[in-house]
Symmetry: C2
Subunit: 233 residues, 2 copies
Amino acid sequence: MQLAVSTVILALRPTPDGSGTTLWLPLVRRIREPFLGAWALPGEPLEEHMSLVEAARARLRHTIGLDPNYLEQLYAFGGVDRSRDGSSPDAPCPERVVSIVYWALVRADEDARMVAGENVAWFPAEQLPALAFDHAAIVDYALARLRAKLEYTPIAHAFLPDEFTLTEVREVYEAVLGRGLDPANFRRQILASGAVEPTGEKVTGTSHRPPSLYRYRPDSVATSPTPPPRSAA
Amino acid sequence: MQLAVSTVILALRPTPDGSGTTLWLPLVRRIREPFLGAWALPGEPLEEHMSLVEAARARLRHTIGLDPNYLEQLYAFGGVDRSRDGSSPDAPCPERVVSIVYWALVRADEDARMVAGENVAWFPAEQLPALAFDHAAIVDYALARLRAKLEYTPIAHAFLPDEFTLTEVREVYEAVLGRGLDPANFRRQILASGAVEPTGEKVTGTSHRPPSLYRYRPDSVATSPTPPPRSAA
């Protein structure tokens, strides 16, 4: 039995047709069996001297050249047959792998500094190629968790700069949820939630009615699950 | 490196002095090094033919004689030195263990049917003995997660029968949070949350003003994180 640490890395980028913004993630082309040549989530067997989160950070740096601000353990996947290639039923049965998956959310300024590793390519989350192992189910789970957390935590913050307009927040919600939101309703709800507060500044530029800038309140992250002690992960 | 599946099992029982209700959990006395003789969370090395959740269910049946209705993956703990016994610095360094921890919440009717396994004893969560490995940090994390989920999910349901009075719901909240709550405020908030609905029935018995019975709405679990596909866990 092998133990691996894998990563789901999500960034907001323009849709392929340029009509909006959507979630993208990097995949790595496999260079060995099983699933030789297929696309897979970035991951590696856990090394003896690394904690789980250190292994996740190492994989992030190797895949995208940096270690994003938002990193969280997602789930451990350990189905008995998850390493088996259903399309090659005659292939020798591969060793069982249990994968502890971390997810990272990438801000635009982090995205701009990324350097893709070897065999890495980015895909829109809704238009993925066939993935190795049970990685398609893992991506689905990460997307469902992100959408759920958007409802009850300030996770949108992970995609935003320190100061932002309410339109920018709405665009994050729209991209993650995959649907348009009514601007006036959204504005009322996000303000009523108490998660954000005005900085007192406005966007500087040429507009004659510049929008106001907001920031997340420091205490608005209180509903996120408390992370376990650092040393334990 | 070893991979283990461990469990945090939480039930509501009377406080040791009988003055109220509090969280209790079962621990197992270790019969081998490291930490020989110390109390630990129920757990075992993952067997080749079992998925993670199957291993958790097997450990639950072995420890308490049943497999509670509420079972969820909590977190994977993989600190490099978590198996080392700090109180025996000269002991040989044990093999590294990564533990995938599940937590189970036990309803009163399940509690009544429990049969404790060998070397198992129950302790109030706030009065635990010294625990082996990093298990004290794992228990703290489970308690923090339970308290956080109480705020934004209908997790109290896991401790309650299908139909219950609002006083019974408040007593679950008070026991988990470890503090008293104002009955009128609590009643207003739980009803305003929309999580519960009246069944139309009242408690039958001798009281001349019997309290009304409630149930959780089927759709009130929508804010819980979506579980990943069964086959993957």
